[in-house]
Amino acid sequence: MAMAEFPERRGSPLGLLHRLAESDLLHSFLSSPVTVVAAVVTAVFVGAAVFAPWVAPHDPFDLASVNLLDALLPPAWMEGGEWRFPLGTDDQGRDVLSTIIYGSRISLGVGFASVLFALLIGVPLGLVAGYAGGRVDAIIMRIADVQLSFPAILIALLVDGVARGLLPRELHDEMAIYVLVFAIGISGWVQYARTVRGSTLVERDREYVQAARLIGVSPARIMARHILPNVLGPVLVIATIHLALAIITEATLSFLGVGVPPTQPSLGTLIRIGNDYLFSGEWWITVFPGAALAILVLAVNLLGDWLRDALNPKLR
């Protein structure tokens, strides 16, 4: 919190960005080779996911181009493999590399959306709890405490299960992605709320907030325009680490068969599909999506670790 003493810390979001670029953040980034590699890997995944239709060698969901005769081909460098399918094909003759690229699209999409959803719930609740205090604070934080004592995966599973119960069966597959985003988002808001509340408690009594209050700025505006920009640093760190966790949670739920349907496979679904072929020796259907998932999560985790140290050493 010592940083907060400097006047330039309090600025518009644009000024904040400008300051980030000017600060030693960039220097700290460039001087950590592991972080640069992690950033490049993450960028490659995001790029491939966004531009999947142009990057992927095949369209695995275009039934016209998928040929069952190509099913279960090993990776290209093994005997029987073909260079048309660098990482081999799955049971339906889909190119594994292409399904991974399209799968990353779903995994990252669900991951980002869940983090955004958790942010949209957690940050306002944290701001209100910290700023209003009293009974509102007590109620919000009590709920947070109770939820925090259960693992996120359990809550996500449960929310997913309830949603399945409420939706008619024929809608399950169609709504699966939205249900997932909701379940993962709901299971993750607590971290944001607690952190934002803590920072808000500190910021609330500072002169600039008191001044704003004195000249009659409304509480909502004070929270949104004055306090929020000053508590975003730790939120960014949590969001990064949460992204890794959200991707893992999505993959886990999909692996358990309660996530996205096989018609729109995420990395987790691909691993689940491949798991059935593990015993007959077709390991590539599982191992390559698995490796992609692990590398993606590791890269995001490394970025999060670096960001935590670089932005606020006291957060640890």
Binding site: P151, I153, L201, A251, V258, I271, D305
Partner: protein
């Protein structure tokens, strides 16, 4: 002291009532209990009679109270899928989950603590750095993937270990154990390792940071100044003081091990409660979901309560710190 325990007890009961409310709402309003009990050909009049007989027309508080009374006696009704009492299904599968969870917790402690101590003492050593890197990789690989990779290597390629199930079990009264047969023990290895890995990295990191913290304190410096041997200082003084938080966290983690067993059990088709729960979610078997939710909540609340009380008893300093922390918030 008594007031503290009483307050925590009241809090725990409130949490259980809230979870009970969620479980009840789930049971009562997600899907129609009647539709799940009777066949297509049952007439409307019969349905209405059954509805009346089961008390589904009673006011909400009455039904909730009845649900809670049932829950306390372990009565959660019948599974929609198995057509058997839920309590029976869960009791059947509980030994499998508990054996797996305790084996994993033990493994995590036995490996995690020494690794943590080592990485703290040889902070700059290559091996210690490697442990830290490995732990980050361990956190990044999802549990189910670790399980699959273990199956691939030790089950499919090397054929050393069984890849699914519990092996042969021995019935000791109502408890079925896999710990007394060779095939049972062999079947336990991979699931236990899979489940333990994440907790292991957690314990290792915790022991390391606590140990580093303690090693910086004055009494360690004085112990060094007195010329005590490093071994005595490290293990007699430093380690002993790091173990209180480690025990607490491990205790709290025991609950999440049981919850995370859901994933491990699915990978290894381990016939425990977690597998039952995943199947229940897939099949929308509401009574099983509600019962499992209550059970897990009960385990968590119980562990939290015990840990809090132990904390209070073991370390008087925490009483003051806690009071200060609460006063501040």
């Amino acid at each position: 002291m008594l007031a503290f325990i009483l307050r925590r007890l009241v809090q725990s009961v409130l949490v259980m009532l809230a979870v009970g409310l969620i479980a009840f709402a789930l049971f009562r309003y997600v899907g129609d209990p009647i539709n799940n009990l009777v066949g297509q050909e049952t007439s409307l009049a019969d349905r209405e009679a059954l509805r009346e007989q089961l008390g589904l027309n009673d006011p909400f508080p009455v039904q909730y109270a009845r649900f809670l009374a049932g829950a306390i006696r372990g009565d959660f009704g019948y599974s929609y899928i198995y057509r058997r009492p839920v309590a029976e299904l869960i009791a059947e599968r509980m030994p499998a989950t508990l054996e797996l969870s305790f084996a994993a917790a033990l493994l995590a402690l036995l490996v995690g603590v020494p690794m943590g101590v080592y990485t703290a003492l040889r902070r700059r050593g290559i091996l210690a750095q490697a442990f830290m890197m490995l732990s980050l990789i361990g956190v990044s690989i999802p549990t189910f993937l670790i399980g699959i990779l273990l199956i691939l290597f030790f089950g499919v390629l090397l054929r050393w270990l069984p890849t699914f199930g519990r092996g042969e079990v021995v019935e000791l009264g109502w408890w079925s154990t896999g710990l007394l047969t060779v095939s049972g023990l062999k079947a336990l290895i991979m699931p236990a390792v899979t489940l333990a890995l994440f907790q292991m990295t957690l314990i290792m990191r915790l022991v390391r940071s606590e140990m580093l913290e303690v090693l910086r304190t004055d009494y360690i410096r004085f112990a060094r100044a007195r010329g005590l041997r490093s071994r005595t200082i490290h293990f007699g003084h430093a380690l002993k003081n790091t173990l209180v938080p480690v025990m607490t966290i491990t205790g709290l983690q025991l609950g999440s091990i049981i919850a995370f067993a859901i994933i491990t059990e699915s990978v290894f088709q381990w016939p425990g409660m977690g597998l039952l729960f995943v199947q229940a979610i897939n099949e929308v078997d509401i009574p099983v979901m509600a019962a499992y939710l209550m059970l897990i909540a009960f385990i968590f609340v119980l562990i939290n309560l015990i840990v809090d009380i132990l904390y209070y008893l073991v370390d008087p300093r925490l009483r003051i710190e806690k009071a200060v922390a609460h006063g501040h918030g």
